[in-house]
């Protein structure tokens, strides 16, 4: 594919729709169909045109798709819930655009559009930087964060075809919530799109009132950390009767008596915490769902809609102010952070080799470059060209992997929801 002029940014859509290699065109059109599904099959032209069009004007004046960031402790059912939401949205004809940020996950049971695993090789990160599993996740996320502006651009261009963007995060919740790259990612999303934080927690482990309050406290802390609309999602209600949790949320006395049945010294603390959190329950959406049988998904969507409205009135002004007033400052800061990050990564190991180099097409020279250019003393023009190449290859790599995956996905799903049957 030709290198496009500077002003135009590439995205997966471009690649999907423009790639003309006969061998891959079937698969690619399939990807497009899976991605775009019923609602937007008419939109078939080169999406470089769509970039210049006005933003979609359905529900209110959103300037982009609704971004849902799924966070939750390990084993809370994050992935299953993502799968459930995806299928619900597909059923409604508004398929989500899915981004996976967990570098160490196994193949997720839903079609992923952008996958961190396509960009960063987790195992390689462990090797190159000589890191353990945790450190490798943080580093992979850091590597990905250096590319996140491109992801943002892709999302921007997807507003025509996708109303929702789903982001699945690593199981280690603190890696996402309490790391530099996590804040870079959430902040840059929230500044541009209506963003909702979905905190997934499972009812089974919350039967213990202490664990319950501990979880709610953690959720509350995420509210303060991220300053985003938060939906507390109590998952797995198929496995256990959710009445107790509903009672505890709405009625402090019920919680207190459950607590008093335990004789531990922190009962006092937990009890006053619960009293403090009453306000939290009032202000925060909470829904009881089951990823397993789909219970409560309507409630969930209402909650999302409510949170989006909230974002418009409460959060958007804040982020806009942030954007307007501190644009230069935050940009500089982020650049610095990124630069620092890149520098760190560069000095402590060979970052390049951690990115996925499309192996099957060795020789096409599609390599993701991270920091070699910026470090060396290339002049601006050269850097620009390289930037373009870099973008192209980034998209191409993503696209290729997405194709490969969707192929697999349709294999798994039979001739899945999209009805695309162009497979040969």
């Amino acid at each position: 594919m030709d290198v496009k002029p500077d002003s135009e940014r590439m995205d997966i859509g471009d690649v999907v729709e423009n790639v003309d290699t006969a061998a891959t065109s079937n698969q690619n059109s399939q990807t497009a169909k899976i991605g775009d599904s019923t609602e937007s099959t008419s939109e078939a032209g080169p999406s470089s045109a769509s970039a210049s069009e006005e933003p979609m004007e359905d529900e209110g004046d959103h300037n982009g798709p609704i971004v849902m960031i799924m966070v939750g402790m390990a084993a809370s059912g994050k992935t299953s819930l993502t799968q459930r939401i995806t299928s619900e949205l597909m059923r409604k004809g508004t398929p989500p655009y899915i981004i996976n940020l967990d570098p160490a996950c196994l193949d997720p049971p839903y079609p992923v559009n952008i996958d961190i695993r396509d960009v960063v090789k987790y195992k390689k990160v462990m090797e190159v930087y000589n890191l353990g599993p945790n450190g490798a996740i943080v580093t992979s996320l850091n590597l990905f964060a250096t590319k996140f502006d491109e992801v943002i651009n892709i999302i921007k261009q997807k507003r025509k075809t996708h109303q929702y963007v789903l982001i699945d995060t690593p199981g280690q919740i603190e890696v996402f919530m309490w790391s530099a790259s996590g804040s870079i990612i959430t902040e840059s999303l929230a500044a541009l799109f209506p963003t909702v934080m979905i905190y997934v927690t499972d009812l089974i482990s919350n039967v213990n009132p202490i664990t319950f309050i501990s979880n709610m406290t953690y959720a509350c802390s995420m509210l303060y950390k991220s300053k985003l609309p938060l939906i507390v999602t109590l998952n797995k209600c198929d496995a256990i009767d959710p009445t107790f949790a509903k009672e505890w949320i709405t009625d402090f006395d019920a919680f207190d008596s459950a607590l008093q049945s335990r004789e531990e010294y922190t009962s006092n603390l937990a009890s006053s915490l619960a009293l403090g959190l009453e306000e939290f329950y009032n202000k925060i959406e909470h829904v009881v769902v089951s990823a397993y049988d789909g219970f409560g998904m309507d409630d969930f969507h209402n909650a999302v809609q409510k949170s989006v409205n909230e974002y418009e009135t409460v959060y958007k002004p804040m982020y806009q102010k942030l954007v307007e007033e501190k644009k230069a400052k935050t940009m500089k800061k982020q650049k610095q952070q990124l630069g620092k990050l890149k520098k760190d990564l560069h000095t402590s190991g060979d970052a390049d080799s951690c990115f996925v180099v499309p192996g099957r097409d060795a020789g096409t020279g599609m390599t993701l470059r991270l920091d070699n250019e910026s470090d060396s003393s290339t002049d601006d023009e050269d850097a620009n060209v390289k930037e373009e190449n870099e973008e192209e290859s980034f998209s191409q790599v993503l696209n290729k992997e997405a194709t490969r995956r969707s192929e697999k996905y349709t294999d798994d799903q039979g001739q899945g929801a999209s009805g695309a049957s162009s497979k040969i």
């Binding site: 160490a104 482990s205 303060y224 009293l275």
Partner: protein, 294 residues
């Protein structure tokens, strides 16, 4: 009576660094403190562990196991479960028999769900209790993430959520103070003796703050009332910081009897333990020999 610090905190906050410096500090002040690594995913640490869980089980091995098919997180939980099942058989022989004033630091993994979600660490604490340990939880937080009022509340709440679940005396340390810029350091000083009410009032008036004003106040009240969530700064270049942390931990666990002013906030020691005066006296003498500027 033995004493133990359980060092917890998110990944990358400097738990192991803290332990490493604690070891050096202990050597310099001639104090017998030994460190046990309980993080099966630990990469490297700059201390000589008394025992290392990686000798028992390693996350990498579990991850590579064909039958289990676990990701990093699942593998870690598997390891921790395995460790908890083998405490008597493995850990007890490793840390050896009790002797007077035994002081052991446990360097724990960073997964927050171990503390808030699962009962693994609780089981560990109970086991230590049976082995006649007095335990103090050390929760490490990266100072970089606590530079404004809202983030401070977020951090406090994370600390609280582990605190409420583990039910042990608890103290929070702010790591990486040495890496902060001047302005951030000044900002953070406000949080060391926090008044949550004031902190939030200083924030600019945004719709967000207005919406959550009541919640912030309610939480601020809890934080204030219990005054449990205090942060102790740790600048690893300053040995006075380390000394301060050790001193507070000593007070919390009742290592020395004349310094137990704060102990009433926490779990009362058993009457039996209280009678163990000899040991306490010995430790207060011990403390006296340290150069404490308190």
């Amino acid at each position: 009576m033995r004493f133990a610090q359980i060092v917890m905190g998110p990944a990358g906050t400097g738990k192991s660094t803290y332990c490493g410096h604690l070891e050096k500090h202990a050597q310099a002040t001639k104090r017998a403190i030994r460190i046990v690594n309980l993080d099966p995913a630990a990469e490297k640490f700059d201390y000589e562990p008394l025992a290392d869980v990686r000798n028992l089980i390693q996350v990498e091995d579990v991850m590579e196991d064909e039958e289990l098919k676990l990701g990093p997180n699942g593998a870690l939980l598997y390891c921790m479960n395995y460790l908890m099942d083998n405490l008597e058989e493995w850990l007890l022989p490793e840390i050896g028999e009790e002797y007077d004033g035994d002081y052991i630091i446990f360097d724990c993994p960073g997964q927050i769900e171990l503390y808030t979600h699962m009962d693994l660490m609780k089981r560990f604490v109970k086991q230590l209790d049976q082995w006649n340990f007095r335990v103090c939880g050390i929760f490490a937080m990266d100072a970089h993430f606590l530079t404004d009022g809202a983030k401070f509340i977020a951090g406090s709440l994370v600390a609280l959520s582990t605190m409420v679940n583990l039910e042990i005396p608890h103290m929070n340390i702010l790591t990486k103070m040495d890496l902060l810029g001047k302005r951030d350091r000044r900002n953070i000083e406000r949080f060391l003796e926090p008044d949550a009410h004031d902190l939030l009032k200083e924030e600019a008036e945004t719709p967000w703050n207005a919406k959550f004003l009541e919640l912030s106040e309610a939480l601020g009240k809890v934080l204030d009332d219990y005054s449990l969530v205090k942060f102790v700064p740790l600048d690893i270049r300053k040995s006075s910081n380390m000394e301060n942390i050790l001193l507070i931990a000593d007070m919390v666990m009742g290592v020395s009897e004349d310094a137990d002013v704060k102990v009433k906030d926490f779990e009362e020691p058993d009457p039996e333990e209280e009678q163990d005066r000899d040991l306490d006296r010995e430790f207060s003498e011990y403390l006296g020999t340290l150069n404490v500027n308190d």
